[in-house]
């Protein structure tokens, strides 16, 4: 009984067009909601109006969209290539820290100590900026780092790991160790990244106030657009020949090798891509949430990413996005309504999904369709 999602075959109607008519209309609908409807409801509609969308809601949806990007990345490596990473939170955080460094420099002299150095360096008694912060005042440079740092770290690790053909559970445990080590490193105040406090109290981005409703909305729209763009990219990858090889690696890696493909190139490239996606998600996350700190690198955070993909439905691309919304929405609701029960729910979700719903929410949708007699189109 194969636990993985069925191999996707391209029907005639879709070849060359990426998505069908229905698919594209859905995408445009989503774009309309993100870029037009929600800004309208938040900024234009006044606060007392029942149609008004509060800042709290906007921030929450934005946060979840960042998580959805990570879930998408997880789907690419796990759902399509069969590599379960329990440490992708590391790359999410690295991207977040790169953005955070820039935002800390943007505070300028408005910190508690009125100094060129960020507050945490002042209370550590440091007199000058360490070398790791060189260039952090430049937006362009830091944005390059948002992509480069996760890429390099994941690339080096991936190259060694895939070359020695560590697989399965061992590999997952190793990724967990790596993110745990990263967390310990960043918790150290001497490392120079704010230690346990992390970075917070941001004031400006690109000179514009970060707390202004318009800035918030711009970031929100940007996040939404990035999510959609990554989804389209992922769909293109998955439907391509490259994507077919990935799925083949997931299903039978030895055979892939025997047919002449080198899995290392494929695995490494998708691994680095997924890390970069998480890094960008992190960079979008930080200015909207207002804080980055090493607990984003905790093993628990990374494992939750895996559950978003699993709940939604691995190997479907839309599934993990749905999963991310579902789980994080539930989290927000539970911690408000029944705080003591949130962890029971989450734990039960892990168990239920692995035992009863290997195809996740998308799997339920398929089953309903089947029962209706509709042919399950790939």
């Amino acid at each position: 009984m194969t636990p993985a999602a069925p191999v996707q075959l391209l029907p005639e109607s879709r070849r060359g067009l990426l998505l069908g008519v229905r698919g594209w209309s859905a995408v445009i609908g989503v774009l309309a909601v993100i870029a037009v409807l929600i800004p309208l409801l938040n900024l234009a509609v006044p606060a007392g109006n029942p149609l008004h969308l509060g800042d709290y809601g906007v921030a929450l949806v934005a946060k979840i969209m960042c998580y959805a990007i990570c879930a998408l990345a997880m789907d690419l490596i796990w759902g399509y290539t069969g590599i379960l990473s329990l440490g992708h939170g590391l790359y999410f955080a690295l991207g977040g820290y790169a953005m955070g460094m820039y935002l800390m420099r943007q505070i300028g002299h408005d910190g508690n100590y009125r100094s060129d150095l960020p507050d945490f360096m002042v209370f550590l008694d440091w007199k000058a900026m360490p070398w790791t912060w060189a260039g952090s005042a430049s937006f362009v440079f830091q944005m390059i780092l948002v992509v480069a740092v996760p890429a390099v770290v994941s690339g080096v690790f991936g190259w060694f790991a895939f070359r020695s053909r560590i697989k399965g559970v061992y590999f997952s445990i190793i990724t967990q160790a790596l993110t745990f080590a990263g967390m310990l490193l960043f918790f150290r105040n001497e490392t120079g990244f704010g230690g346990n406090n992390g970075f917070t109290d941001f004031k400006r981005i690109l000179g514009i106030s970060i707390a202004a409703p318009s800035t918030r909305m711009v970031l929100f729209v940007l996040t939404g657009l990035t999510l959609v763009a990554f989804y389209l990219l992922a769909r293109a990858i998955v439907n391509s020949k490259y994507g077919r090889v990935l799925q083949a690696i997931r299903d039978a890696e030895s055979r892939v090798m025997f047919t002449g493909y080198d899995p290392l190139k494929y695995k490494l490239s998708i691994w680095v891509l997924s890390a970069v996606m998480c890094g960008i998600a992190g960079a979008l996350y930080v200015p909207q949430v207002g804080i980055i700190n090493p607990s984003e690198m905790s093993p628990a955070a990374s494992i939750e990413m895996a559950i978003w993909a699993a709940v939604g439905g691995r190997g479907t691309l839309v599934g993990p996005i749905v999963g991310a919304f579902f789980v994080n929405g539930a989290k927000s609701w539970f911690t408000q309504a029944f705080p003591e029960f949130w962890l029971y729910f989450l734990g039960a979700l892990f168990i239920a999904v692995t035992l009863f719903l290997p195809r996740g929410i998308m799997g339920i949708k398929d089953r309903l369709k089947k029962e209706k007699g509709v042919e399950v189109k790939a």
Partner: protein, 533 residues
């Protein structure tokens, strides 16, 4: 400075009392009151006074004060033992008035009382008492006024070891004597010592304005180096011991995991929580003993060990039958499912017992430590855990290699299909082996409860470590787990001395990640495993 003269006063005057009387209750009422109540300086002065007057009841009274068993009222002073009050002055049983207040002592008072007692006991007829007194005085400051007392004690001392210690005490007191020859002799005698306090003393004499004679300064520096050399041995042994102690804990924690992973290829993310359940079981047993058999409290651990094994094994069996069995062949899903179980277990414990830590008290024979050298104390609880880990290892080895169950477990590990063909009920073996691994985890939790916190999050702090040991050691052979655990423990502790706790841990993790690239199957792996995991 004042403290030195106080000490010398106590000792000097106390030694004048050759007789260490049998508890004759000849303490004056006003005197007792002055020592028990009032301002710190006044109390110490009164104590000094009492020592000077050689009150025979002083030793008993001072000990009672140190034991916090003295109570006072406006008119009387009482010593209370097991709810029976005795008048401190007359020694006669008395009724304790309801408004009696406790006597409170701060550190300074306690130190002064202890010094007075040690001085009185320096010439006691019992060897153990004298030894304790010398121990106490060695830890304190040396003072020239102690010399006559120590000389007298040396003259009467029969035990050779104690005598040489007293000689060194004398030397310490003479280190600042006006006579140069005396100072030189003192330095030479002290260079034979291995005490940290002696080192501190010699070091302080090297301060710019302390010892001015150049030749003596050179002698002092030489003496410091010699003492340091002796102390260094204590430090090295210390690092070794801490490494072995950490290694034994890692071994206990990882053993159960190694068995389940070796057998079923299941990495059990709820392993930490099985340990936590074992620790809570220990707490429960402790409470039962406290409630129903307080006299036998020190033995609670003997019941706690099998209890935590049984409870965790039961939970493990339920998990295996209920969830994990359905996920065979899907190790990644098992990882996630067991993670979910761990969340549920943690929250369950929080709901039942609260989010706070619970108190697990060491049995009294596990408190304290054995002083191997002057600067190395090996705590009893850690020694017990090392011994316990060895026992568990032995028992597990015996079980795996000498029993039928162990034979079946090994068979199923090596080739499940074949074992099933020979008639072994593999599902039952799975359950039993998982329960065994869980039970060992429970016992690990019992051990952990003696050294650290017991709370719902207990498992989380050890989960990454146990995985690392299993990954490094490889599966299929216990030797791998043992070697990996000890090796990681020692490496961690050695690095910790150089780079600090956090960097040491990070280095160890990176080391494992790198090592695994070179040798993916770990240190010891079963030969003949297929390439696919």
């Amino acid at each position: 400075m004042r403290r030195l003269t106080l000490r010398s006063a106590f000792i000097a005057l106390a030694a004048v009392l050759v007789m260490v009387a049998a508890p004759a209750w000849a303490l004056d009422a006003a005197q007792a009151r002055a020592i028990a109540v009032g301002d710190g300086d006044a109390r110490i002065a009164a104590l000094q006074d009492a020592v000077a007057r050689a009150d025979p009841g002083l030793a008993t009274f001072a000990q009672a004060l140190l034991d916090d068993s003295v109570k006072t009222t406006a008119t009387g002073v009482f010593i209370v033992h097991d709810d029976k009050a005795v008048d401190a002055v007359t020694g006669q049983p008395a009724r304790l008035p309801d408004d009696a207040e406790d006597v409170s002592n701060n550190n300074r008072m306690r130190g002064a009382l202890q010094t007075a007692l040690s001085g009185l006991r320096l010439v006691s007829p019992e060897l153990a008492t004298r030894r304790a007194a010398v121990d106490d005085l060695t830890k304190g400051d040396a003072d020239p006024a102690l010399l006559p007392v120590i000389a007298k004690a040396i003259a009467r001392e029969t035990d050779a070891g104690l005598k040489s210690r007293l000689e060194r005490l004398k030397a310490a007191a003479q280190i600042a004597a006006p006579d140069r020859a005396q100072r030189l002799q003192a330095i030479q005698l002290l260079s034979n010592s291995g005490e940290p306090t002696v080192r501190a003393l010699l070091q302080s004499r090297l301060a710019p304005d302390a010892e001015t004679d150049l030749e003596l300064r050179a002698a002092l520096a030489h003496a410091v180096t010699q003492v340091d050399g002796r102390l260094a041995w204590g430090e090295r042994l210390g690092v070794l011991f801490t490494g072995i102690s950490l290694g034994s804990i890692l071994l206990l924690v990882a053993l159960g995991l190694a068995i389940t992973y070796g057998l079923m290829g299941v990495i059990n993310m709820a392993h930490g929580e099985l340990m936590m359940i074992g620790a809570y079981t220990t707490w429960g047993v402790q409470n039962l003993f406290r409630h129903f058999a307080p006299g036998l409290f020190d033995a609670y651990i003997l019941l706690a060990v099998p209890a935590s094994f049984v409870v965790s094994a039961a939970v493990g069996a339920i998990l295996e039958r209920g969830v994990i069995r359905f996920l065979y062949g899907r190790p990644l899903e098992t990882l996630l499912a067991t993670w979910g179980i761990s969340l549920v277990l943690m929250q369950g414990v929080r709901s039942l017992f609260g989010a706070q830590n619970v108190e697990v008290e060491n049995p009294s024979w596990m408190s304290g430590g054995i002083a191997v050298t002057s600067n190395l104390v090996l705590p009893y609880n850690r020694l017990a855990i090392i011994a316990f880990a060895a026992l568990v290892l032995l028992a597990t080895w015996a079980l795996i290699s000498r029993t039928r169950l162990g034979l079946f477990v090994r068979g199923v590990t090596q080739n499940r299909r074949m074992a099933s063909c020979t008639g072994i009920n593999t599902t039952r073996i799975d359950t039993l082996a998982f329960a065994l691994g869980a039970g060992i985890a429970g016992m690990a939790g019992c051990a952990l409860s003696q050294v650290g916190n017991v709370g719902p999050d207990l498992g989380q702090s050890y989960i990454v470590d146990s995985f690392m040991v299993v990954v490094l050691g490889g599966v299929g052979q216990l030797a791998g787990t043992v070697l990996a655990a000890l090796g990681l423990g020692l490496m961690n502790k050695m690095l910790e001395g150089i780079a600090g706790a956090v960097l040491a841990k990070i280095f160890v993790l990176i080391f494992i990640v790198v090592f695994i690239q070179k040798r993916p199957q770990g240190l010891f792996a079963l030969k003949g495993r297929s390439a696919e995991s």
